[in-house]
Amino acid sequence: MVTTLFGYTIPRSWAAYLFILPCLAVTTLFFLVPLGMTAWMSLNEWPLLGHPSFAGLRNYLALFVDASFWGSLLFTVKYTLVVTPAIFLFAFALALLVQRGARFVGIFRTAYFLPVVIGMTSASLLWTWLFNDQVGIFSALLMDLGLVDEPVQWLGETNSALASIVTMVLWKAAGFTMVILLVGMQAIPVDLYEAAALDGAGWLRQIRSITIPLMRRTFALALTMSFIGSFLAFEQFFVMTRGGPFNSTITIVHWIYRASFTYFKLGYGAAMSMVLLLILLVLSGLQLWLLRDDKE
């Protein structure tokens, strides 16, 4: 197969490469090169100030005995296991609510999606004040209702801090997952539902036997994206709890940040980043495999 470009005849496959060239260039410049640099950095003692020196695998070995690293990894897994299903179920319910073209449905879709366009840091700041014990609305509400006598320290205990952040993220991120799910839902032909209705299937039965099975791929996409997002959580913890109380809410990315910019050990931070990348690759692969479409 051949094709022509500016009057020259070139093999067709070359044209394909030309088409992906812009994308490849961007990916190389902003992903592959930094990745290579990070990998190289991870093999060095690389102080932020001063000169790097080759360290081989020393950073990786140090990482294995670093209790803080494992502690933050464990906490990140815990957070991800809580927040990913929560976002998914909440977004699925929202998508079902706004799926049909009822009156004002556009307003609701917009309203649910709106928090997504706010930056995570701004959202975290906003909620820090909502949760504040002196001026926050949640404590004031509970006190006005007479449910509590003293202001609640939402971010003062590990579990309530985690719950508070999960609530914020639910508000912030569910709209995005909702849109993904909505697209998948609307791709299902209406006649399937009509046929099912004729056969006497109710609303729940239709969801169970039509919507869910036909949305496997959409589920895989939505879950993987929110899973990766949760695993890389940083801003919400950095702003809302700063890792407290008792350093119990330090996520893995927060720990990488601390190693790199509080301790100025860039090489060590890079090594942790590489390990995190590997973990995410394996877990995402596993997830996609579990949710694979059998017909593929």
Partner: protein
């Protein structure tokens, strides 16, 4: 070669013009400070820019990010021309080679001997001087005289020992209706090195060994201090919000008139007088367990980072910052302390005896010297804050000190 006289004259005139133009040309001096300083530095920069040819461009950096931002800027070749840093970080920045040595210039200052000794001690690294004092801040106890009266205490007799302080705080908290005896920012490491260590020092303890190379945490002095905080917390004499206050509240709970005593700095005298004239407050030294007192001598030092392109202009600006025009007419006038002992007694300090307490504490104050200060003390996830949190709100004083010792040793041993 013979140059025609006209041409020679012309060249001379041209050279003169060029020189004049060079003198006229404005140099922009970039200046970084941490956010808590914005209040007194912004007017200072405005005054300088109104009266000088070279202009200063000020950048205010959030306090918690200062070390990181400044470190990365120097590493990336984007350092400012002048920087005012918490004096506590000067050793670390000097060690990392981020500052320009200014010892000769500093020693030539006519008032060199009157500069704050704590600032100067921390400005030295391996015999070289990298900074000069900029602003001064000492810590002491601020107390609400009205609440003292209401609780049946003598408002002219602040606590002289930690035992008295504890008893007074509990007594004041006993007034109820949201009134509490004591306040501190329980999630802020930097705040507590400022307001809590003086109790430890006054009781004969310290955070570091005298050579500053090892931790010295396991002492009765620190144990008693932490235990006092814990008892006050357990007795409900401290507001619940203290636990999560990362320093953003610091003294503001005292503004409500519902806090009996709080450790704070000289800045709060000016602030309280200006913003809350309704509060009748007194100041007193922070006591030890058997009397005595101590203070943290803090504030900012000012330095020229490596890579500054305008060192000469920067030094001119720094000298102006040390002049009476700034130290007295701006700092002292707005209720903070001058960094020069020869200016400590001035028209403004004489108006209020409370400034005398602050100034005396500054002279007698102590400051820990560590190149690892940020990792140990100021890091919101560092061992100093973890120790306070565990000791006061968590499992207890002994396990907290034990954990902290281990982490202090780890960090101090690292290269």
């Amino acid at each position: 070669m013979r140059i025609p006289p006209t041409l020679r004259r012309l060249t001379g005139a041209l050279a003169g013009l060029l020189l004049a133009a060079a003198a006229q040309a404005q140099t922009e001096i970039t200046f970084w400070v941490r956010a808590p300083d914005a209040g007194f530095v912004e007017p200072l920069v405005k005054n300088w820019n109104a009266s000088h040819n070279n202009k200063v461009a000020l950048t205010v950096i959030p306090a918690d990010d200062f070390v990181t931002k400044f470190g990365t800027a120097v590493a990336g070749g984007a350092a400012p021309d002048v920087v005012a840093i918490d004096l506590i970080f000067v050793p670390a920045f000097s060690q990392a080679g981020q500052l320009t040595e200014i010892g000769a210039e500093a020693r030539a200052l006519p008032y060199a001997k009157s500069l704050s000794p704590s600032h100067l001690r921390l400005a030295m690294y391996e015999g070289r001087q990298y900074a000069v004092p900029f602003s001064a801040e000492s810590s002491f106890l601020v107390y609400n005289k009205d609440l003292f009266k209401k609780a049946g205490l003598d408002p002219e007799k602040p606590p002289k020992t930690m035992g008295e302080l504890e008893a007074y705080a509990k007594k004041i908290a006993g007034l109820g209706k949201g009134v509490k005896g004591f306040y501190f920012s329980g999630a802020c490491g930097g705040c507590n090195i400022f307001t809590m260590t003086p109790y430890v020092w006054a009781s004969g303890g310290d955070v570091f060994t005298p050579d500053n190379k090892q931790e010295a945490l396991d002492t009765p002095a620190l144990r008693n201090t932490l235990a006092m905080y814990r008892r006050l917390w357990e007795a409900g004499a401290i507001p619940a919000g203290a636990k999560t206050d990362n320093g953003s509240s610091f003294i503001s709970p005292f503004f409500t008139g519902k806090i009996g005593m709080i450790g704070s700095g000289a800045f709060s005298i000016g602030l309280l007088k200006k913003e809350h004239p309704e509060l009748d407050f007194g100041v007193a030294p922070l006591p030890g367990d058997k009397g005595g007192s101590a203070s943290f001598a803090g504030g900012d030092s000012i330095a020229i980072p490596k890579g500054s392109k305008h060192k000469k202009e920067a030094w001119e600006f720094i000298q102006w910052c040390l002049s009476p025009e700034v130290q007295v007419e701006q700092f002292a006038k707005n209720g903070s302390l001058p960094v020069r002992a020869d200016l400590a007694d001035n028209a403004y300090s004489r108006q209020d005896s409370r400034f005398a307490v602050a100034a005396a504490q500054m002279q007698a104050g102590r400051t820990p010297y560590s190149v690892k200060f940020n990792q140990l003390i100021n890091d919101p996830n560092g061992p100093w804050l973890a120790m306070i949190q565990e000791a006061v709100f968590g499992p207890g004083v002994d396990p907290a000190i034990k954990n902290a010792q281990q982490k202090f040793r780890q960090i101090l041993a690292a290269p």
